[in-house]
Symmetry: C2
Subunit: 260 residues, 2 copies
């Protein structure tokens, strides 16, 4: 397909590289920041532009990978072309595009992207949704050229998926950070925890999380929990976080015994 | 060394297998439950016992891998032998053993163990502490026979380490579970999230967590956070958890821009 990328952030960067590598032609890369457009366009052999009036209409799809709150405005500006447009956001409904065109879809990669880290795009779950069946089919076929994990997900499901990803990824990473700071404050290195973090994630590749829950809360080890809360006396916010997470674990397990 | 294992849970099981495989002799396995003693003793070619009076004094070390609140009582019962004893707990001080003997130490594996999953013990961080330098050296040498990651950690540091592990492992796994339940309630499969969880853990192998924090909170995307809080209207506890974690991320980042 001939593909136009709107955006130059992490999603735009990883997605356009994957599409290019799958044999598609990246026609143009649009960014408000021409330097960012130049850089990404250079890597995927596309034309960089920083103004929508420069859009080349000889394209099959606009992939809109911009901040959530900019999706509607971009759609409004692109509506005149009557070319298929798909946004890549977890939390924006397809309706935001449908306000401007019937030729709308969603192409949502459920992964955390950083400019500083490569990943295997074929493992990235791609969630597609089309305004009609033909669009859904087109997006699904496009998705399969870059990923082995393609799902049809409607806008309501996608919002839940995005929320659950905030818990499983963003909040999880923050807890890694809490742990790292606790160690740093006591002159210990984050390397000590890295094998534990890797193993914790590895366990849920085969198991459901509740099956492998460990720790003081699931054992209802009140003594250890009280000691930990005392240790956090100088960090009321972490103390509250500890209390809330422990309560939620206890509530979920209802007497099941955890591993050590 | 000739090693006696006190306990038959996950830590006892993984540790005795690693010690046996490193060429040490597991003399006896003690458990209050003779069936569990039998099973573990069978795997490591040791004698199973369920009564401390049956302890064979021809051993170099008692490794006490029992519940935290049973460590003191076991130490009291073993004190008469005047043989080196080391417990394996993150949250119990060395002083709990020193109440009964000077021949005391700690041999704490910082990892999450399940009976249902194998792991590479050589990657497990082992944190050792001795009541004197000679004991520390003995435990450190023993630790190096089974792990590449051996640390000297005193009791105060170990308590912090254990607390940080609760955040990085136990609480993290619970957040995986929250995400899985959100998906299940909306007929979506946990498989959709597994690549994201793996990548989130993978990122902090090279980076510090704060460097790779992503999501609505670090972007200060109020609109998305408000939408998510509304979606959790029927789960006040999760709503509070979402609010608290987001506040803590915002507090930690102070205006730093996150990746998408």
């Amino acid at each position: 397909m001939r593909i136009t990328i709107i955006g130059s952030g992490n999603v735009a960067t990883h997605l356009s590289a994957a599409l290019k590598n799958a044999g598609h032609k990246i026609v143009q890369v649009y960014s408000r920041n021409i330097n960012k457009a130049n850089l990404l366009a250079y890597h995927v052999a596309a034309e960089p532009i920083d103004d929508i009036v420069l859009i080349d209409a000889n394209t099959d799809i606009f992939i809109i990978a911009v901040n959530d709150d900019a999706v509607g405005e971009i759609a409004r500006q692109l509506a005149g072309f009557d070319i298929l447009m798909a946004h890549t956001s977890g939390s924006v409904g397809i309706s935001t595009l449908q306000a401007f065109t019937d030729n709308a879809g969603v192409f949502y990669p459920l992964q955390t992207f950083s400019t500083t880290k490569e990943l295997d795009f074929r493992q990235v779950p791609l969630c597609v949704e089309g305004a009609d069946e033909l669009i859904t089919k087109t997006l699904e076929e496009l998705a399969r050229t870059v990923s082995n994990n393609v799902y049809q997900v409607n806008s309501e499901q996608r919002k839940i998926l995005h929320l659950s990803a905030v818990f499983a990824c963003n909040f999880t990473n923050h807890l890694y950070g809490v742990a790292q700071q606790l160690l740093a404050e006591h002159n210990m290195d984050f390397n000590m925890l890295r094998p534990l973090i890797a193993e914790t994630a590895d366990k849920v590749k085969q198991h459901l999380p509740a099956e492998v829950q460990t720790g003081p809360a699931v054992r209802k080890d009140e003594q250890t929990m009280q000691k930990h809360l005392q240790m956090l006396d100088n960090s009321p916010q972490l103390q509250e976080l500890y209390r809330l997470l422990s309560q939620d674990i206890i509530k979920n397990t209802n007497g099941r015994n955890g591993d050590k």
